[in-house]
Symmetry: C2
Subunit: 239 residues, 2 copies
């Protein structure tokens, strides 16, 4: 049962804190997209560290290729990184390789250190239930610029998970990142108040923000079940 909880505002550059489980959040948009891909019936999401690696593993496995660089899908990708568009692609029963500039990197880094899953506002309650089975847990905000710049929307989505965990376990020992998350007066609105949200609106991708704000609408957690060279495979766990 969970007893210690923190939120890492960025993936650590060097030393990661020891934890029994990591939930990685890249609310705009990678982990929201991963959750929706599995919700729409994809068999697995393979999160890749590099664009070249994503292309190679997709070809090798006959998987669909999804992702973005600078907000938009690179040439030859089957789809972008837009959660609002997931429902319009035929993903049921398929593996989908996902490459993005922050979220998939953070997922690979966390999975190298322990049990890891993808989380966002959509599966906040489910992610909280998955985390609640472990002793020490860390929610990892993916950030921007390859995980070097803080992204408000990630903390805001993490705050939805923290609230669910604290509601179930009020005596939880909280690190300062988790204490901060609890102080956010309106996490769902904060997802749309970030610089990244401004940038998506400027790209005409404002629907992705609304899609990322649909708190507690999905009851599954994409959990890392296999690690490859430069990628991790996530499969849906009902929690």
């Amino acid at each position: 049962m969970v007893s210690e909880l923190d939120v890492l505002l960025l993936p650590p550059a060097h030393q990661w804190p020891a934890a029994d489980a990591y939930a990685v959040v890249d609310a705009l948009r990678a982990t929201t997209t991963a959750v929706l891909l599995l919700h729409h019936g994809a068999r697995a999401v393979i999160a890749a560290e590099s664009e070249a690696g994503a292309r190679a593993v997709a070809q090798e496995r006959g998987a669909l290729l999804a992702g973005e660089v600078g907000g938009l899908p690179p040439p030859g990708f089957d789809m972008g990184n837009s959660p609002a568009e997931v429902g319009s692609h035929a993903v049921a029963g398929r593996e989908v390789v996902l490459f993005t500039t922050n979220g998939t990197l953070a997922l690979c880094a966390a999975a190298a250190r322990g049990p890891a899953a993808a989380a966002c506002a959509l599966n906040a309650a489910a992610a909280a239930r998955w985390l609640a089975e472990r002793h020490r847990v860390a929610i990892v905000c993916a950030g921007e610029e390859h995980g070097t710049v803080f992204a408000l929307e990630d903390l805001a989505a993490a705050a939805c998970i923290v609230r669910a965990l604290v509601a179930a376990r009020p005596d939880l020992e909280l690190g300062d990142g988790a204490r901060l998350a609890l102080m956010l007066p309106d996490p769902v609105t904060a997802i749309g108040a970030s610089a990244h949200a401004d940038a998506l609106r400027a790209l005409g991708l404002g629907e992705d923000i609304a899609a990322a704000q649909a708190v507690d609408t999905v009851q599954l957690v994409p959990v890392v079940t296999a690690l490859g060279a430069g990628w991790v495979r996530l499969e849906p766990v009902r929690a």
Copy 2:
């Protein structure tokens, strides 16, 4: 005049964002102590990166030696890092070498990259006036564990500065760290709600928390005026 503002939730591990001025915050307790040392008449504060370096520069300059390791003053130091005790030491006209495990390190790192000053809740309005003269400014939270772990009290004190800057310039372009700071409902209370505040109370140093919460009581800014090998010299600027 200031046009871009961000708060860095930790000192960057690698690439620092370009800025025309950095204000470093280590609210519990280094920058609060530095502000109070100058407020009580110390001629300058010399912030040292290492304990050995602090001892050497203090001996060389005939300066007082202040600081902490694990919250308490090392053997042979003239005083600790306690803002509540600054008034009981004869610091007027003296140079004081300050070594702490996070704040002085962050000050040295920031000063290596551009104009830098020490800030906290006490001099929030003064620090905002000093920053307001520059174009792009960054407030740097010193954090814990040599700047690798987020400290809520630093963001809370930074929030006092952000509020003062935004009140004067509502059209300021804000990074996500600054947007987050503005969302804190009660920054002064948040200074006392951190894990570090809990640890100080456990050490019997609870008065330092109240001392760090005395927002806008000091109208000077400790500004870096000289860089040595492993130290920076801060002198009071009325702003």
